[in-house]
Symmetry: C3
Subunit: 497 residues, 3 copies
């Protein structure tokens, strides 16, 4: 349903295109080959090597492909690329891409002598994240000790090579023990329109091979956090709203489980998660105040927390939106209608002409409107967290939205919950099984955060923090190590988020 779906377009093209047909060449930059260019070899004839060959040719390189079945493979490659035997290719080129399975690297041993002194680029990946080596690249290096092995391009998919780097990630992570070999590969990256990223020595090739295998690492903690909060609050509400009436009064209201309980649980999760977005920033600020410097490293956990605030925020937003949808669904339900009609019935029987209760009306009108505003603010934050939007605002605008508006949203959401709770916190009958109403638990953290933020507004504290942020240190009074605008980047957000 996304670009993914247009890949087959790209990928199938080489499969379905007759040799020389220009169909997909539109996606390739233009040949600018000149004699001076180095000859580049590719071993292997898979989709990846085909796409690689196409882009190399497009970037003006002379390409020679080494295949075990040249005759058969030639049809798969662009006309400009020479397709020959592996031996032939290996001997012609000084820089060779090894585009075959790592488990078959050994089949290249016959080329050992020819490959000596040449640069081998290992583009292979592991099949699953592994924490202990040797990596494919290291094994390749063991096979060919006289060659300079460079790890790279494994994060680039065949379709990215075809589409050209303007789609998707442009970074190519490289590592090698030979700086010279690395540099020559970097040149090729630049010319193909990619951004080479130096990962240091070949020892880090394992990490490079893991890169494309990661599955949302930065989302793991926030999602786990959301889920556990959800489960906790769900059970808590289930206990109070379903089990308690069932046990005490034998009143079966299990029908509440799919929607009503969920709808009480979601906002609780949303609000707590939102508070968790701003909590670490406060911790950091207070730590810095305590240390009297910003040049100490934060404890690892706090640091990781600071890094994943965006994810926490988006999880909170998701819950908030779902909460809105669930709430709007309430009057849709048959159960709501039945209740309404039964109430009408009762009122008629009781002969009450007007059952209007002004307080209830006001309470609901208020917490609904405040809730809508909070949601609106959160949506703004979510929109500005889109990469393409975030990149169009300057730092000040960004911190305004993310911290100022963010705290407004937190405040609104807290008020929304307070109004929802109204005076029920002080109503004994609400303490079923001696359990306080959910919103009481929920409010603890947000109120704590808001108070903490207020504390940072106290002039003396704020002034001290500003000093520290500008590089001032308790220990030695160097005051000018930092350009002024630096207080609008980096650590600043720790204070205002």
């Amino acid at each position: 349903m996304a670009c993914k779906c247009i890949m087959p377009d790209e990928m199938s093209k080489p499969l379905i295109r007759e040799r020389g047909e220009g169909g997909s060449s539109r996606h390739l930059e233009a040949p600018m080959s000149d004699p001076g260019d180095p000859v580049i070899g590719i071993l292997g004839t898979g989709d990846f090597s085909r796409s690689l060959a196409r882009r190399l040719v497009a970037s003006g390189y002379q390409v020679v492909v080494g295949s075990r079945t040249p005759k058969r493979s030639v049809a798969l490659f662009p006309a400009e690329a020479e397709v020959t035997s592996q031996m032939e290719a290996a001997s012609q080129a000084d820089l060779i891409f090894v585009a075959i399975f790592s488990e078959h690297h050994s089949t290249l041993m016959p080329l050992k002598s020819v490959l000596a002194g040449k640069t081998l680029v290992d583009v292979s990946n592991g099949l699953h994240i592994s924490q202990d080596g040797p990596s494919n690249a290291e094994m390749l290096a063991d096979f060919f000790p006289e060659s300079c092995v460079v790890k790279g391009f494994n994060t680039i998919s065949a379709w990215t090579l075809q589409m050209g780097p303007q789609d998707g990630n442009r970074q190519v992570f490289l590592c090698s023990d030979s700086q010279k070999a690395k540099n020559s590969v970097k040149q090729i990256c630049h010319r193909m329109g990619f951004i080479p990223v130096d990962m240091g020595l070949l020892s880090s090739s394992l990490e490079v091979e893991n890169l494309p295998l990661y599955l949302f690492p930065s989302w793991r903690v926030p999602i786990l956090c959301t889920l556990s909060l959800f489960i906790f609050f769900y059970l808590y509400n289930f206990l109070r709203d379903v089990l308690q009436p069932y046990i005490t009064a034998g009143k079966s209201s299990f029908y509440k489980m799919p929607i009503e309980i969920v709808n009480v649980t979601l906002p609780s999760v949303a609000l707590v998660m939102l508070a968790l977005v701003y909590l670490p920033g406060l911790f950091a600020a207070f730590l810095q105040l305590w240390w009297g410097t910003k040049y100490n490293r934060f404890p690892g956990r706090l640091d990781r927390w600071l890094v994943t605030r965006k994810q926490f925020g988006l999880c909170s937003f998701l819950c908030a939106v779902l909460h809105a949808i669930y709430s709007l669904c309430l009057p849709l339900r048959k159960s709501a209608r039945f209740k309404l009609i039964n109430m009408a019935y009762k009122q008629v029987k009781a002969g009450v002409e007007d059952s209007w209760v002004d307080e209830e009306v006001w309470r609901m009108e208020l917490y609904l409107s405040v809730g809508i505003m909070a949601l609106g603010l959160l949506s703004l934050l979510a929109v500005t967290s889109l990469p393409s939007v975030a990149s169009t605002v300057n730092w000040r605008e960004f911190s305004f939205i993310q911290s100022t508006l963010g705290y407004c949203a937190l405040f609104m959401a807290t008020v929304h919950t307070l109004l929802y709770g109204w005076n029920r916190a002080f109503d004994a009958s609400q303490y079923r099984f001696y359990l306080p109403p959910t919103f009481v638990l929920v409010l603890l953290l947000p109120i704590l955060v808001l108070l903490g933020r207020l504390a940072l507004f106290v002039p003396c504290v704020a002034g001290r923090l500003r000093q520290i942020r500008r590089g001032w240190e308790q220990s030695r009074h160097i005051r000018f190590t930092l350009p002024a605008e630096d207080c609008r980047n980096g650590l600043e957000d720790i204070s205002n988020v």
Copy 2:
């Protein structure tokens, strides 16, 4: 309401700026002109040539503009550009942009001798898509047989030239019969920050001229498909829910047409479209299993289908969202209120104290909650189909969202419909005019797709498919033509989407 609206900004600048004012130069890269640079000529003084001149100057070229009214035009161009007569400009420059209407190319005939042997870049466009030539560029080439005509830059708008390539599409599609001329234009593209895209010989200039005239070609089929499905289901529901009661019972419920019928139609369309997103992937997978290789080309239709899955998915998402909004509007309507009150009236008259029907309640609670989850998943898919988001995830994450979550969404939506249908499929009274309830028709395809996907999970089938995807072929057992990571791009998604 979008960047479009900021164009006048860019466009009007030249109109409202005094010569030399720096206003918009901020959007231009900086002059790095050095004597060695070629002189570039521009014929024509329209907005396009003005913007082109500005960017060329900004990229450090010496620009000479050929105008029929140099004195008057000079004020429109940046100070660094020389504005002179057409003849003068044509003779000074070796590479000349022809920025005048194609229908006025003939007026350049007097320059024929001067232009001989020089490179002419035709930036003009057709006014409507034409399938048979000659293209403007070809006609220009006929006028000036001794010049090398290059087609290009027609896809770049004046404001893109002004804003600089960081906004909008950076690709410049070039074609020419002279490789040398083409290469020199490519150099200019690169220096201006554009990405030249080689479209081959001048014969493809017609296609290039058509490019900016296309109106969502990839959306045509999906939208047509959506519309026809909509019309079919709308009529079907109209027949069952409005016409039938009217004819049989004379009960007029035409008021249902604007909302209720639409609200039954939309989810049907959404679900069928969603199934159509994943159907072609299954076809492809089974075809590959059947062939025993992935190196056969797919039938053209299947191929085009695979390419437009993203659009199918987004259409389905749109319908789903509208369905949600329509549903939420239901209790708003006067009609709903009237019904409710009348029901209350009846209940009172009938003296029924409690009209609660547990089964109906449960059914609704369940299908509502499942529906909300399905919508939530679809929204995730939609968000990740935003270019800027899609480019931040690696391949594995992408395929996880688009295929795994996608199938979850399809499954949820199917369950949602099943719960909605409940046991009515087996209720004779539902078969009005012998027509089965809508949801029965709707469910056929999704269930088919889900079963097909399940079949691919059967170990032996899955294993075989994996082999094939990794390049294994029934015919000859070459197993190592493909780097491992290739199973994470290109054709892979055919299997998991």
Copy 3:
């Protein structure tokens, strides 16, 4: 909750990383240092200079950092960078970044002789927008008259330097009185992956220093406009719907203030704002018709208005969405339920079996469905105004969505309001305090705009306008100053938006 939140990651890395650890180097391009490269000096050891040093090293420059406390600072910089005394650094390098507070520039006076004839890059920012100089850069130039001062990089935050330019804004605004110095800095920009933007002479350094301090300048007018419209309509509705019944009938309906009044106000604002999006385009078109040329400059106000149409549109969209949410909340409210039950009670008492009023039902069904469609279209417009989406469509598609669909949305919204108003405009009882119903006021502008647009469709007018847009002028009949495709950019949208 957005990238902002990942900055600490980037920023804290230097703080929490042991020297030489490769952790964040992944975000840096690769060293390609060769002896020929110029040595670049940095004065100051703050976060900014650290990030700058890291990126310079990564881009292959030799970096020498001048610190007042070399021993202490060395640990903060990458191993490849030499950290020494300020004097030492100043003397070694020909191009020096001054990364210290502007108020401490004076402390560099001792280096004056050493810095003579060298290029100083001032990266400092003002602390608040100032309209009158001297700028920090100008003051620096006064301190070191023999050095060439270049202003720049102040818009780039330390984290952008660390992440690399692929995140956030890639433009580096430069200005200097020495073209030579400017060019050398430009080279560095290009090599670091940034796009240098020439802002001219040092006199414009004040503007450059203000750039990062702006807070949504283009949003000010639209938001002010939205707010004032909101306040006006809110008071108007309050007067009609709350105050009037209270005063005349003593009926207290103040509970309507948080939601119902807001919900009548929001759509009014949305519709008027939407009309304001398309009004300036009409003005521009009629002005051009009046002038008979497009080469006159528009009055400044109209011009600024044209530029902010996107913002007007998004404000209108926001109001429309809020209006939708508020409306969907209506049946949720206790007040709605009380009313319903009371109505039921009355009906029972009155013994009316069926209170169904067909006209009311139809009216509501119709205006709801039209409203939903209008909202759907607006959402499409909003999505295409996302930078990453807008950049994937060609000009024709863009103008189709923004103008054609945009006018459809305006039309739909107008019809929605008309249907909502129904015949109440002619109902005397609606004119409380002689004030016409809100929707009457609201409709004036949109209908005006739609009529104006229709006028432009009249063949003769349309033809004339097309001529003018293609460069034709009443005065002198030059008809071919403009390439055809130019009518698909720049001014075109003035006509179709």
